[in-house]
Amino acid sequence: MYSIKTPTLRIDEADLKCKNGCGYFGNEEWQGYCSKCHREHLQKQRAQREHARIHESDSSSKTTVHGFYKFEEKKRQQEKKTKLLKLSVFRKTATKTQGFSEIWQELVKDNPELDKVKSETRDLLVQIAKTPAEKDVRKCIHSFVNNILQMKDIKSVEELSELTQNFYQVFAKRMENSPNYADVSPETKDRLLDYIERYTMTLLYRILFCPPSTTDEDKDLAIQNRIRQLNWVSGKNLECRIHETSSDVRELVYTSITDLLNMDSVKAPQEKLACVVHCCRNIFVLLQQSVGGPASADEFLPALIFIVLKANPARLKSNINFITRFCNASRLMTGEGGYYFTNLCCAVSFIENLTAESLNMPQKDFDAYMSGARVPASTWESALTMCESIHLMCEHITLLDELKAKNLEIIAESDELKKKMQQFPEKVEAEVDAAITRTPLIITPSQRIPTNLDCVDAESYQLPPPIIPQVQNIDIYPQTLNDETNETLTSHVGDYNGPSIEDCITPSPTFDFPAFDSDGGLHGSKGDDDTSLISLDTQCDLTAEESYLQDRDASDSLLDESQASGTNLPSPLKPVCSLREDYHGFSIQGSNIPTIPCNTGDLSHNTSDLEADNYSGYFHNI
């Protein structure tokens, strides 16, 4: 049916001759061949079909058709076929069983949109769940769907549309008057009305959208072809003021085209209407950018026509008819949605009736464009490819601009840093100068002081004989006593000096670091208390091993004392009884502590350094 119909739409003189080029006139019935060639062709074709069963006979008839159109035509036919198939399958089940519940089942099954409607209105459904309202809504939907399913083959679409509109109105009235809805807020009622429309229409979409009893589909094809033919129409022809060169505007053009195309993919009429509204709002935004100010209807309509021409939405007529027939007219068609929808209808009607006059161009040019003899330089397609690169360039330019800005920032920052760096040595110099001017007076006396101290230092250096550090441990406490005990101290020092000097001199310069580090150094690093503790332990060994008999006397008593100091740090090793003894010894020997000050002197010199502790530890070890 379509194979015959479509070629008749486009016959030009070339088609009259036999397609084989034999010179005879061809005939439409013979697929454009002369009788002889046709016969040959048929035979060839039959052989072909047996070979591969590729195409139906009609495909060969379209060889004259432009490659592109042929492809399109085929695509459309396939669409159609699948559609018809679907419908016939559908109808078969209907006639076979006559059971509406089965059709219903089939409609509900595999209908993801229906689930979507449900999930999107879940809060509403929850709100009315287990109320008489929910029951009533179900009942209404059920009876309405049943009604439509019963009528679908008997009544025309217009009557079905009337039924649907009645249903909306009756339901709205019912919600007001029925006691079932007494507790429902008006807002919820609004949403319920919306819900039943969405639900039933999504459910019945397959039956009500583009029903086979109408010519919607043919009209769809007609308008699609028409728009395709008009693809050369530019914004300039329509006198619409879209700045195609601005990337923002172009982005919005794409968005509104997408919105319009989206109309076919959603199902409920109010969703379709919402797509139109989105599209139109985007057009207003882009016009606002192009015109600079709110756009008027004079600017809007041409822009919408342009968008429709460039979008060429699928099944445009079917969608428009579906909305007009099944959208709740009283609710939506007088408001903003209705206004935009009317504009869309206007745009479609304009496109259908478009003439040379309505584009303000000579008839000759119009015909040339329509027949494809002339291709304008600014068709959308070529514009798109060009736009693509322009778009890219725009993006790059903006990227470069950003980089430039960043670069400038970095340069500024680096300059600042440079300045700071230049200032820094100056500042340091100034500070140093200031410090020098402040300090020189202090430096000279400090040099004198060490000379005074040197005596003490010399003493202290000389003093640390092995015994002394042991004493020193105790001295942490008696430091304050130093002054009081100074006399006794010095006397003790005098005692120790003699023997210790030799020992002290040898270890102190070399300090036997490695040995110390391996032993006490490690421990020493843990803390003063540890070192003293450990050093205490080692001291015991060392004192035992070392044969400083002179020291023995002192060390015996000192050992106890050192342990006393160790008691500050919990020493598990030492027995408690010794502690008591120590305490005795400590208190008694408070006066004997004398040697301590020397070491404390040492400590006071180096307290800041850890090494100092280590040294002291070392001294302990010794």
């Binding site: 109105q169 709205a172 007001e176 807020s185 008006p186 807002e187 009622k189 609004d190 949403r191 009305l193 919306d194 006198e239 109010q270 969703e271 209407l273 919402a274 509204v277 989105h278 709002r281 207003f284 935004v285 016009l287 606002q288 709110p294 756009a295 008027s296 209807a297 004079d298 809007f300 309509l301 041409p302 007219a329 009283s330 609710r331 939506l332 068609m333 007088t334 408001g335 903003e336 949605g337 209705g338 206004y339 935009y340 009317t342 209808c345 206007c346 009607s349 304009f350 009736n353 006059e357 309505s358 303000n360």
Partner: protein, 204 residues
Amino acid sequence: MYNDMPKVDLKVVLLGSSNVGKTSLLERFIDDRFNENLPNQSTIGAAFASKEVCVNNIKFTLGIWDTAGSERYQSMTKLYYRGAKAAIVCYDVTNLESWERAKYWVRELRSVEETCVVYLCGTKKDILDEGKTATPDLDIVERYAAGIQCKFYLVSNKTGEKTSELFDEISKDYISDPDNLHSVMEAITLTANSKTDSRCCPIG
């Protein structure tokens, strides 16, 4: 998403040639709306506007539909005034051609939408005030308006003179029609418990 489209009770359509000031009239309407500080959709386009009006303590929504004035879209304009309760036919008081077009719209409306109340509106009054002469003469227009029993307004979109009066008059006339009152009242009783106004079927 479709809930952000308020329902409109009174559909008013703006007709007239291009450049007579339909859009300015609509902008005036929108400006008034802004002055009243009513929360509504932002103005991205001056082609459609809706406003809630209150006459005799009856609230209803007025929706203005602007149309493209260009002659090339003339044949489609009947799509716009389908179901319109009122129509403002504009013409430029100094432009004879726009007057001829206005008369065409009036005839058209009278034959297609009988229930539609027509308001004749001469725009650009400020130009007249500057000393220009009206073409055609205002007497002729007034006589014509009286002859077809429609109200004639001389407005200035520049100064805003009489524009709000025009819209007020339209609202009043609408509500004074018992049929319209009935449908609006129905909507009011339906929504008596809440502030939202919607639902009802004012299509006559």
